[in-house]
């Protein structure tokens, strides 16, 4: 196991004050906020920062950790905790909870894991922790349902009373009708409960992979539908591929670009299904042949059309 240099993670000196540590944490929390960060690995960076802050912001954990540093361990060096390294330290467990610690490293679990076990004993008959994860789906999955395989790290107590992480894989069959932002609860799939108490739940937050043709807004779907000028002007029936097949859509005559056609109930399926919107985009045929140019010229002469009429003047 690698020794983690929490001071380096937060970018502070070993003798940094509590205030400096807090400031450094906030700066990084802003930088790596998973919802806004432009950094590629923001989410895993944020986990490291959270872990470092959990230790360094807690005076007892920090003191225990510092003691290891004084024994010559450095970031990246091979690490096995010396026996009795944490004697005389009483961890109060402030500032983090077991669910969050599922995101933390094995190094953290090795150092502070026993405390999690200890907590369990002090709160006998505790329900297991709830866990949270994100799941990425394709839009088509919401029309047909899908099965996704999830690998989860679960903390559990080994025979020394230490917390270790065990991986297990869960095949989750997701029925059709799932939509973005939805949370799926898998009862009993979170952390194990203590003695006879129930296990926690696993919550999956559904996100959809970005799609080049579809935009999803809650249960509604938007598709840009390219049409020829004569289809928009004269009306037409065109075939449109949608996530669950294809539909024939009638374009009303005299449609303008940007017009929305609503296909009621053809959005994401559910008891009250979403709608599917086709947004018309008029595409001009290129004037690259003499024949095409002639057409445009005769339109210009015969239609007396001024698209800038409302500009006035």
């Amino acid at each position: 196991m690698e020794f983690k240099d929490y001071y380096q993670t937060l970018g502070v000196a070993r003798d940094a004050t509590a205030d400096e540590i807090k400031k450094a944490f906030r700066r990084l929390a802003r930088k790596y906020h998973p919802d806004v960060s432009k950094e590629a690995d923001a989410e895993s960076k944020m986990k490291e920062v959270n872990e470092a802050y959990t230790v360094l912001s807690d005076p007892e954990k920090r003191a225990a950790y510092d003691q290891l540093g004084q024994r010559g361990f450095q970031g990246g060096s091979e690490f096995t905790p010396p026996p009795g390294w944490d004697a005389n330290f009483e961890f109060s467990g402030r500032g983090y909870n077991g669910a969050q610690s599922a995101d933390f490293s094995d190094f953290f679990a090795e150092l502070f894991g026993r405390q999690m076990g200890g907590e369990r004993h002090s709160h006998q008959r505790m329900r297991g922790e709830d866990h949270h994860a994100k799941i990425m789906l394709d839009l088509e999955d919401s029309y047909h349902g899908t099965t996704r395989s999830l690998t989860l790290r679960m903390p559990k107590l080994d025979n020394r009373g230490q917390v270790v992480f065990a991986e297990h894989t869960l095949n989750v069959r997701i029925p059709k009708g799932v939509h973005a932002g939805q949370v799926i609860r898998l009862a009993g799939q979170g952390g194990p409960g203590h003695t006879a108490e129930a296990a926690g739940d696993l919550y999956l937050e559904v996100q959809f992979k970005p799609h080049a043709r579809y935009r999803i807004d809650n249960k509604d779907i938007y598709i840009t539908l390219p049409v020829a000028p004569w289809e928009a002007a004269l009306g037409a029936t065109v075939q449109v591929p949608i996530p669950d097949g294809a539909v024939d859509v009638r374009i009303p005559e005299n449609s303008h670009g940007g017009r929305k056609l609503r296909l009621k109930g053809r959005g994401i399926p559910s008891a009250t299904p979403g709608d599917l919107y086709l947004v018309l985009e008029i595409v001009l045929p290129p004037a690259t042949t003499s024949k095409a140019r002639e057409f445009y010229q005769s339109m210009a002469q015969e239609l007396a059309f001024n698209p800038r009429q409302h500009f006035g003047g």
């Binding site: 989750v172 997701i174 840009t224």
Partner: protein, 111 residues
């Protein structure tokens, strides 16, 4: 260790106050306070009695986000909600931009 499990959706699409509080690891009071301050919304059709409130999944995601912001920056609820509002807005705009970009890209690559 591998095993199969069926996810069921409809019954969990809506959360009541207790389910939401438990799932997000906050107290009922935490939620009630923020609903009353207009920072969270329940289903419009439910009454003023918190026991009858129902929330959709978006509230769930929003609360988890607000909790993290309040904790990481030790900031007040209004500020955390404002940040959450902006993140939600950015998500919507990014989705629109993504479609517009891929559309423009297709057009430009046409002969």
């Amino acid at each position: 260790m591998t095993h199969d499990i069926d996810a069921s959706l409809p019954e969990y699409t809506q959360f009541n106050l207790d389910q939401l509080a438990q799932g997000c690891q906050v107290s009922r009071e935490w939620i009630i306070e923020r609903v009353q301050s207009g920072l969270l919304w329940h289903d419009e059709t439910s009454s003023a009695d918190p026991a009858s409130w129902s929330f959709d999944s978006r509230s769930f995601v929003r609360i988890r986000r607000i909790v993290t912001i309040e904790r990481d920056f030790e900031c007040n609820a209004e500020l955390a909600s404002l940040v959450a509002d902006m993140i939600e807005e950015i998500e919507t705009l990014r989705a629109k931009l993504h479609v517009a970009d891929s559309h423009a890209h297709r057009k430009n690559s046409e002969p």
